[in-house]
């Protein structure tokens, strides 16, 4: 499998006035191995701690997996942006807008999720992924747009997470 190239940039070294801001970007193509490609990107970013990598793999995989299975990812795939500040790490995921995502966000606005529940008839759990992402992040937002749908997840830094 080809590893997606991470474009890594230190804003503090590039004239950006925001001190200590590190960024990395990649595009995950529309394909069944998109989740694995996202993971490969996370592993390739050298400014992340092991704790942050694990958080990104679990929470990010969940969103990428759902975008693949519930929505339709446009031909441009998923744009991934990581921003690391001294106090937090933000993961942004951007895809071509899709009505399924808009329906999902409208649902969230109308009826906030109750938490995971088991449907014994279907032998399926519902709401697990939402709960997992909520518990792993300090904040998460889902924004449907006219051209792009966006998911932003923020993780608070801990001692040992590095710059």
């Amino acid at each position: 499998m080809n590893r997606p190239k991470a474009r890594i940039r230190s804003a503090s070294n590039s004239g950006n006035p925001v001190r200590g801001l590190l960024k990395a970007r990649c595009t995950v193509p529309r394909s069944p191995d998109a989740v694995m490609r996202f993971e490969a990107f996370v592993q390739s970013v050298d400014f992340l701690s092991e704790r942050e990598r694990s958080l990104l793999v679990v929470a990010g995989d969940e969103v990428v997996d759902n975008l693949l299975t519930h929505g339709e990812i446009g031909r441009k795939g998923i744009s991934v942006l990581l921003r690391k500040r001294p106090d937090s790490l933000t993961l942004g995921l951007f895809v071509q807008s899709h009505y399924a995502f808009a329906q999902f966000t409208a649902c969230l606005d109308e009826t906030p999720p109750l938490g995971p529940r088991y449907n014994p008839d279907l032998r399926r759990w519902h709401g697990l992924g939402l709960t997992m992402c909520r518990n792993l992040t300090s904040s998460i937002s889902y924004r449907a747009g006219e051209k792009l749908d966006r998911v932003f997840m923020t993780f608070l830094s801990q001692p040992g997470d590095g710059p």
Binding site: V35, N66, L68, W125, M132, C133
Partner: protein, 109 residues
């Protein structure tokens, strides 16, 4: 390429499913098939030491297997979850629902 492999072996009264690779929407069917084959019919251990990632699809399969095992009065354990598997389980908010042992040697006889 899915990247998942599941090996089943026997250890005492237990069937041990050893999972390697990612568990997500593209790979969970294989785990579901094997877990449903044994959960509730025999004592079952699911070794997650080699799991590289796990989404709610995988968590749901394991929870359903736990439901089946408990309903049938059979034992079920998660064995030695990898760091990401442990984090995925904890992130559900009900990690206590997952009976866990550190290695197959610690499975109750």
């Amino acid at each position: 390429m899915t990247g998942i492999s599941i090996e089943n072996t026997e250890r005492g009264k237990y069937v041990v499913l050893t999972v390697n690779g990612p568990i997500n929407s593209y790979t969970f069917n294989e785990l579901q098939e094997k877990a449903m084959k044994y959960a509730g019919k025999t004592d079952l251990a699911i070794d997650l030491a080699g799991v590289s990632s796990m989404t709610s699809a995988g968590i749901g399969v394991i929870l359903a297997a736990i439901e089946d095992a408990e309903a049938a009065g059979k034992r079920i354990f998660v064995v030695s979850p990898s760091e990401v598997a442990r984090l995925a389980i904890e992130s559900t908010g009900f990690a206590e629902r997952f009976p866990t042992v550190a290695s197959v040697k610690e499975l109750p006889a």
